[in-house]
């Protein structure tokens, strides 16, 4: 197995984690035009709930499903309490509302479960796969495979069903959607439920292979914002590609001999790649805006 392939394989957990976060961010952004800063916290709370339920004797499969449902509910609550009341102000105000939600959830989780670091419930049975001189665990591979399933399922839902059409319609033009019989508020709430459930999947699986900590887990979504931005914030496929760029860039740097000893090279390269991609996408936005104007 070549070094490049090995590094790509070892990067899959990073790509999976960033992608599944980015998908949720994009689903919410497409429907409401709000960049959900609370996405990481919406992942963290269900992860704690699942571990708490599992410690209480609830089988992990049941706890996982309940955790994902709680994530959907959390998405709805955040939208109703922190975003919708600010809709008439501006999109920026709604984004500030999600910052408030982030702070509140981190604080409450600290109050309820403590601010220290804990071991989370494992979702997959622990087996080790050898990749070169390194290891991949089933939980890490599971995260990547679940991401593919979530991306495929959500793409089908949004592109092939009336629900997806309603969500896209409400996002593009609320008034036109209303005239077509779609309640835009319900459509937007639906997107937040989906986004919350996606965040929950990410949080539960990510905590299982790292650690549970209110602040740290909530901040794990930050690279996913870069991935979503690279992907254009409007496309699930773009989000996955963005995550592959983010995860792949950081993972492949060790393969480049001349860059190995340069401190901070992974972060620097990532920043440069993100800037380059967004600069190119920026031109397309201008063209789109022109077409919309016409």
């Amino acid at each position: 197995m070549s070094s490049l392939v090995r590094l790509l394989l070892l990067s899959l957990p990073n790509i999976g984690a960033y992608a599944i976060f980015a998908i949720g961010i994009v689903v919410i952004f497409r429907a409401s035009k709000v960049l959900n800063v609370a996405h990481g916290a919406m992942a963290m709370v269900p992860a704690y709930l699942v571990t708490w339920m599992n410690k209480g004797g609830v089988p992990i499969a049941v706890a996982f499903v309940l955790g994902v449902l709680s994530g959907g509910l959390l998405g709805l609550v955040v939208e109703r309490l922190f975003v919708r009341p600010l809709r008439q102000v501006s999109v920026t105000a709604q984004t500030v509302g999600t910052v408030a939600a982030l702070g509140l959830m981190v604080a409450l989780a600290g109050k309820v479960w403590g601010t220290g670091t804990e071991k989370a419930a494992a979702v997959f049975p622990d087996h080790v796969l050898r990749v070169g001189s390194s290891s991949l665990r089933t939980g890490q591979l599971g995260l990547f495979l679940v991401m593919l399933a979530v991306a495929g399922g959500l793409t089908a839902l949004l592109q092939l069903t009336d629900i997806g059409l309603a969500m896209r319609g409400a996002a593009d033009n609320r008034r036109a959607a209303s005239l077509m019989g779609v309640d835009p508020d319900v459509a937007i709430s639906g997107a937040w439920v989906l986004g919350g459930a996606t965040a929950a999947v990410a949080g539960i699986l990510l905590a299982a292979i790292t650690n549970l900590n209110p602040l740290t887990l909530s901040l794990q979504a930050i690279p996913a914002f870069v991935a979503a931005l690279i992907g254009g914030l409007g496309s699930l496929f773009g989000a996955v590609v963005g995550a592959a760029i983010v995860g792949g860039t950081t993972g492949l740097v060790p393969a480049i001999a001349s860059l190995q000893q340069v401190q901070g090279m992974q972060q620097l390269l990532l920043g440069l790649v993100a800037l380059a991609v967004m600069a190119m996408r920026g031109e397309r936005y201008v063209a789109t805006d022109v077409r919309n104007g016409l």
């Binding site: 070094s3 090995r6 590094l7 070892l10 990067s11 899959l12 957990p13 990073n14 999976g16 984690a17 922190f82 009341p85 600010l86 008439q88 102000v89 105000a93 500030v96 509302g97 910052v99 408030a100 982030l102 702070g103 509140l104 981190v106 604080a107 409450l108 600290g110 109050k111 403590g114 601010t115 220290g116 670091t117 050898r130 990749v131 070169g132 001189s133 390194s134 290891s135 991949l136 665990r137 890490q140 995260l143 990510l206 292979i209 790292t210 650690n211 900590n213 209110p214 602040l215 740290t216 794990q220 950081t250 993972g251 492949l252 060790p254 393969a255 190995q260 000893q261 401190q263 901070g264």
Partner: protein
Amino acid sequence: MKPGTRTLLAGGAVFAAMSIISVQTPAQQRLAAQQAPSGPEVVREEVVSGPAAAGGAAAGAGGGGAGAAAGAGARKAGAAAGAAPSRFQCAAGQNGGATDKGVSATKIRLASTHVLSGDGSSFLGSSHVGMEAVVSNINSKGGICGRLLDLTLRDDGWQAPLGASFIQNFINDPTGYFALPVVPSSEGLTQAIKSRYIGNGKVPVVGTDGMLKEQYQDPYVWPVATATVSTMRIMAKQAYDSGARQFGIVWDSRYKFGKEGAKAFEQYVKKLPGAHLDANIGIPPGQPSYPDTERFNADCGPAKRCEFVAMLLEPGTAISWINSMGDDSAGRRLGFGSKGTGGAQPLFNAKFARDCGEPCNGMLLWTGYNPPIGEKLNLPGVAKYVNDVKAIDPGADVSNQFLEGAYLGMTVFVEALKRVGPELTRARLKEVMDSLAFQSDLASPLTYGPSRHYANLGAQAFTVRTAAGSFSGFADAGTGFILDPSPGDFPSGG
């Protein structure tokens, strides 16, 4: 509701949420309950033993001035060492009242940042228990010269900007804090030192165990910990003396302790005849996976295993790193040295050893203190540390070396307050600290001077032991305290 009002409400909610993050731990709640009966008004005439107690006497009698500074090994020997004669008595109602900012007749207000959340909480999270144990002890005896210690703690999540901001607020607080003891959250303190909040405010920061180099160079900071740079050189020296020549290191690239420790390790190994650093890898904490293991193993892996590997990581990242490693043909986990593996003080706690299990069997963990392990537990000072901490939090991991460091740091601070006596001012505290010689069972003797704040120069190793694949305890590796081969050398960079 007007749209603008909603925006303001949302912004307000952010600040409200942030303020809630400052959580009162169960230990803090217990401490509050214990202290409640005594209350701030309870004072006794003669409250402390040793020189300060003489305090009164010492202070009243003029103490003996700077020349009476306790000599090395003269534990609690010098009465009011370094302090000028006082007009007041070390007793309630006669202590001079508000002698400086944050000091009143009945109270000394203190503040510190610590780490209850984020990456650092796994090893710094219990430091407050060590501080509270000392405070509780002193306050139960009526305080110092009739003044109770009133300690305010803020959780900064080991985030430099937030920690520095808290410290700036402490310094600018209109009601005033007298000093900052221990300050377990090193990242914020370092930022505050660099921003000159400490120097400009002339606020004493006594007994820090954060180990970063700025703390050893600031005239207002007196650490009790062995610096990270010293520990890394000592680790390399011990490995070299044991025959290791091929070295490797993996370090935390996000936090400062990793960067400066790795730099010191690299510089020292390069000076050792015949030694070379084959792998030098910085990794960020908290990643879902670490492809960097391939890069490490290419230089230090199965083909040419390094003889010594240093791990300068926080515990969660170290576990992820170790779990990302494969095994060699003999079934031994890669990422460890063939002749030894050393872990810096952040890994010296039972949770890390338990989580690591079999792969960490035989790993040496380094500390600048005497932990309650093996015969060290029989030392009276170490036994007292264990008892005092257990009285505050029975479940505390007393082998955590940052907890012990916080206890020692607070003890040194209290000792300095005693030596200053009733006329308590920041200037007098600085004078005392700059001539303090403190000896205890918890560490090697700490001797400070005006331009010498790196008082703890040694570190010793303890071995992680496993049985049937699980952590079974620590054992004294028998190295004793090894002195830093380049004391006071703080390499630039890192």
